[in-house]
């Protein structure tokens, strides 16, 4: 055996450590399935539970999303219910640690799975969304849920699609003794609801706004999304809660989302006009300005897959 003894010792130590790290750390977290939800007060009676800036995984259980709740004078309004039944149940406990008031309304801002799969933990009569969001959850929810089990593993146990029972319309509603302005928009999906708490000036932007994390685009229409960002930028908010990434007190997350979408759109159009094959578009270098966005190297190829075929088709069909 021509293997230096010191190196052998180091190798043995490394392999032992690797086994310990690989085996024990995720196991102890996974056994508890504890999302460690800590409500963060961002304004008077307004709380946010900030998700990790990652992709869905067996280590984070799908907790990559921001959810929130508003404690009114007579009840609690929840904005998005999280990625799983366990998340929904732990969100309920987190709310109960802040207030004894009942949850009177649970809003799903759009039909993506991390925003509605916690619905099961709440009363069916409290679940509400825009009508197209309800339809999206009814038609695509099961496929989303199956995919979430695949990605997040046992964190998803017993999670079932529980669609909202009430349709929301844009305008001002009174809920839990609080006046909320519902702003119906599109672009991230076919129906995106932003919620503005008038008393504190807190704007829950849903996934129309990403902050320090690359936007996701499986159902995106970039032109509509940009128009919706114009609408949100005109809202006189003091606190901005993005769908993913840290809470802000300025419009920087809107500008960041807008810049990414503009670059993505321009890049895909120029690529198609130049006759690039999709594999060549995937290989394009990303501008340094976006290098610090979380998961950019995962989301960019996904966005190319989502959006390039239509852009390319338009170029090929031009006459």
């Amino acid at each position: 055996m021509i293997f230096p003894r010191a190196l052998a010792r180091a190798a043995l130590l490394a392999s032992v450590l690797a086994v310990l790290l690989a085996g024990l750390v995720p196991a102890s977290r996974a056994e508890a399935f504890d999302y460690r939800l800590k409500p963060q007060a961002v304004a008077d009676g307004v709380y946010v539970l900030t998700g990790l800036m990652q992709d869905f995984s067996r280590s984070n259980g799908g907790n990559i999303v921001n959810t929130g709740f508003i404690v009114g004078d007579s009840g609690v309004v929840v904005i998005d219910s999280g990625p799983s039944r366990r998340y929904g149940e732990q969100l309920r406990k987190a709310i109960a640690s802040v207030t004894a008031l009942p949850v009177v309304l649970v809003i799903n801002t759009h039909h993506h799975p991390d925003h509605f799969l916690g619905n099961q933990a709440f009363g069916a009569h409290t679940l509400a969304a825009l009508a197209p969001t309800r339809q999206g959850i009814e038609s695509e929810g099961e496929a989303f849920n199956a995919n979430m089990y695949r990605l997040n593993g046992d964190w998803m146990r017993d999670t079932e699609v529980t669609p909202p029972t009430r349709s929301l319309a844009p305008g001002v509603i009174e809920a839990g003794g609080r006046s909320l302005e519902l702003i119906a928009l599109t672009g991230h999906t076919g129906a995106d609801l932003a919620v503005f708490d008038r008393r504190t000036g807190t704007l829950f932007a849903g996934d129309l706004v990403f902050h320090k994390r690359t936007p996701t685009t499986p159902h995106a229409d970039i032109a509509r999304w940009q128009a919706s960002l114009d609408t949100l930028a005109a809202v006189p908010f003091k606190v901005l809660v993005p769908g993913h990434g840290p809470v802000a007190r300025d419009a920087a997350p809107i500008a960041q989302t807008r810049a990414w979408l503009a670059w993505l759109d321009r890049t895909l159009r120029e690529s198609a006009a130049g006759g690039l094959d999709m594999t060549e578009v995937l290989a394009l270098p990303l501008p340094a300005v976006f290098a610090r966005l979380a998961v950019v190297n995962d989301e960019y190829p996904r966005s190319v897959s989502h959006l390039y075929p239509a852009v390319e088709q338009a170029v090929l069909e031009e006459r």
């Binding site: 055996m1 293997f3 003894r5 052998a8 010792r9 190798a11 043995l12 490394a14 392999s15 690797a18 995919n147 695949r150 130049g274 006759g275 094959d277 999709m278 594999t279 060549e280 995937l282 290989a283 190829p301 996904r302 897959s305 989502h306 075929p309 390319e312 088709q313 170029v315 090929l316 069909e317 031009e318």
Partner: protein
């Protein structure tokens, strides 16, 4: 100490090396054949099926580009570039773990020995291109693509929509100038490319596609199989002055429907 050292080496080797190197070490039967750099258990089957006793080598000059992860398993972009090899006669593309393994084959005529296209993947698989050169040698390149599944057993969009059927075999194409003075042809054909593996939907796919110049000289001839994606898009590169005048696109599907279009300048 000797035992501890051996264990440590073995542990470290398995930590660092992964399946490909492990196969190298313990598979004595591969002495005469090079072992698969992609470490696929299907490789020996693939070799028998596609090459028989012909000489095969893994060759970095065969470049296969595809995303690491197939975001949409119904539409996975793949580009094969064998232009670093001289005397390319035929290129065969296959995916070891697809229920229908063979994706397409092409013979470059006047065109360069490269092709961009889209495929359906049923599950994670190597996607490989095997290039036969004039000396009879097969040169193989490939990449692993991770896929979530279902690409080949799902119904096509077209199978559920009469509107798509009315545009069957419609070709949209454009020519793009290349920096080397050559040209690129990109074309899209409307076709459901049904695999026959979705319940109640029969196999319905394009089998032949040929690009030719105005004099009838072949630029490239492509044999397509079921795993080629619905409404397939192809990218073909031509060297300078390969095809003056319009390019003729012809072909047929397995129901005898013809493809017949002209790409004007």
């Amino acid at each position: 100490m000797r035992i501890a050292t051996t264990i440590a080496v073995a542990a470290l080797a398995s930590l660092l090396a992964g399946p490909a190197a492990a196969a190298d070490a313990d598979d004595g039967a591969t002495m005469r054949q090079p072992s698969d750099p992609l470490g696929s258990v299907r490789w020996d089957d693939m070799r028998h099926e596609f090459f028989g006793d012909a000489p095969v080598s893994f060759d970095a000059r065969v470049r296969v580009s595809a995303p690491h992860t197939a975001e949409n398993p119904l539409d996975v972009p793949v580009h094969v570039d064998a232009t670093a090899l001289a005397g390319v006669e035929e290129v065969v593309v296959f995916a070891d773990f697809n229920p229908i393994v063979k994706v397409l084959a092409f013979r470059p005529g006047q065109a360069r020995a490269s092709l961009g296209f889209r495929i359906k993947l049923q599950q994670s698989s190597p996607v490989r291109a095997a290039v036969r050169t004039a000396d009879g040698q097969w040169h193989v390149g490939g990449v692993w693509v991770t896929a979530t599944g279902g690409g080949c057993t799902l119904p096509s969009t077209g199978s559920g929509s009469p509107e798509w059927q009315s545009r069957l075999n419609e070709v949209s194409a454009r020519l793009f100038p290349r920096i080397d003075g050559g040209e690129r042809v990109r074309l899209r054909i409307i076709h459901p490319m049904d695999t026959g593996l979705a319940p109640g939907i029969p196999d319905f796919h394009i089998e032949e596609l040929t690009l030719a110049d105005i004099a009838g000289a072949e630029l490239v001839r492509i044999a397509t199989f079921e795993p080629v994606a619905e409404n397939p898009v192809f990218t073909v590169d031509l060297p300078p002055r390969a095809a003056p005048g319009p390019i003729h696109v012809s072909g047929r599907d397995n129901n005898g429907n013809r493809i017949d279009a002209e790409v004007a300048r």
